[in-house]
């Protein structure tokens, strides 16, 4: 038995090594052109950054063009996260492996979640776009669905890691099933639910850029157009906004999690 275990571990290790080597070789990095390529990359980024007053004035003039899509992006992320979280809450109870529902139900729901999770948001966005047309409603639905799928799984994992102790204690002192849920379980899972929901909101902000690329509303479309039309100053402004937005949300979510830990 020991030899088989060692052999299978060795095979696994060799397979992993082969995968890594194959992936890097597959890059076909052209060493001769590497210096010029890197220089071109830097100049590309350099042209996104404003030089001088005229460039700054141009950046500011984009305000009217960019403000509405930016707000759309934020709205899509908020609506998608809230709707997804609300739907995921009840779903997680059926998805979790607990003693309440049969194991087969949990297994069936988990495989559905896993299949759905393998598909990127942009694919859902394309499907919904073809059904209801261009715009931020389609983007919100796609983001909401993906959030529902991933939060159902994460919430269920939090439920599965609950310790039985406080549940026993509330039951043993005469609490009914609702009280056991509110006092024995919720305090244990609430910090996890909050943290994963906030993380998912950050992720959704980035996702709502991506779905914008296929026309589901938000700044993504502007980002792609600016690159195609070589208006790199526009690209720079949009990326800067994304960086600020994601970091502001990250900071706020850190503060909120600290309060409710």
């Amino acid at each position: 038995m020991k030899i088989i275990a060692m052999l299978s571990r060795l095979v696994g290790f060799l397979a992993l090594a082969a995968l890594i080597v194959w992936s890097f070789v597959g890059m076909e990095i052209d060493r001769a052109h590497l210096p010029t390529g890197v220089a071109a990359g830097f100049s590309f980024v350099g042209r996104m950054i404003p030089h001088g007053k005229a460039d700054f004035r141009y950046d500011l003039s984009l305000r009217d063009q960019i403000m509405q899509p930016l707000l759309d992006t934020i709205q899509m992320a908020v609506v998608g996260t809230v709707a997804g979280a609300i739907m995921a809450f009840p779903m997680s109870f059926f998805a979790a492996r607990t003693s309440v529902f049969p194991r087969s139900l949990s297994a069936a729901i988990k495989s559905y979640l896993n299949v759905s999770r393998a598909i990127p948001t942009i694919v859902y966005a394309l499907i919904i776009l073809s059904a209801i047309g261009l715009g931020k409603t389609a983007g919100s639905i796609a983001i909401g669905y993906v959030t529902f799928i991933s939060l159902s799984k994460l919430y269920a994992e939090a439920l599965e890691s609950v310790s039985q102790g406080p549940i026993d204690a509330v039951r043993a002192s005469g609490g009914n099933s609702v009280q056991v849920f509110v006092y024995g379980m919720m305090p244990q899972v609430f910090p996890h639910y909050l943290a994963t929901s906030l993380y998912s909101f950050e992720y959704n902000l980035k996702d709502s850029f991506i779905v914008g690329i296929v026309g589901a509303g938000g700044l993504g479309a502007q980002l792609l157009d600016s690159i195609h039309e070589f208006k790199l100053l526009d690209t720079g402004v949009i990326i800067a906004l994304l960086i600020v937005l994601v970091n502001v949300v990250d900071y706020c979510s850190y503060r909120v999690r600290a309060v409710f830990s």
């Binding site: 204690a169 005469g174 509110v182 305090p187």
Partner: protein, 254 residues
Amino acid sequence: MPDAIVIKQLAHTYRGGAPVLHGLDLTIAEGEFVGLIGLSGAGKSTLLRCINGLITPTGGSCIVLGEAVEKMPESERRLLRRRIGMIFQEFNLVDRLTVLKNVLIGRLGYLPTLSSCLHRFPASDVSLARECLAQVGLTEFEGRRVRDLSGGQKQRVAVARTIAQGAKIILADEATANLDVLTKDEIMDLLKDLVRDTGATVLFSMHDIALARRYCTRIIGLKNGAITFDAAPDQLDDAAVADVLARAEHGAMK
């Protein structure tokens, strides 16, 4: 003294497992402080959980405060459990909630579901909970979160919770096993005072033989799911201890 607990031919087998309890007979009078000793796996926890109906035994009967637990539906067991406090080795408090809230959990069985789930407690219950905290010496800790307390303080919160329940019977499942020597005594003293002041009955499973000898009025030895010793502490000599704690060749070991 009337009987607090009457156990008749109690037997239990967990689904897919070996039998844990084999036809136990046991009567405990009100006001007794009973120590339950035995190896891990001897069936001590299972016995305690049959008494408050967390487990329905596969055979026999537990008559607690005059009522047969195994015959009751869950709704009636809840009413009975209000009068049976339970403290645990791992404390089993709700770590994120305050000390006062944890004591108030002992009142949940007396309160309507909706308001209690909104964390609303009647003023009379809050003042009762404060009195219970004073009794265990934790008055100044009421607003602290339980997770910031030491092990001994946590167990005192658990004792306060059973006092808040107005428990007539206290089941303690290895409740001093995680505590240091001095803190063990503090907890035992609290329970002893409770027995003296309220006439409560204590059934305490423990590994610490010296502690059992000092505090209990009666000691029961459980071995492979059967009672092999049942007498006053002064009769628990070293030979008797060795017999209870001897590992059998074919036991219900995990």
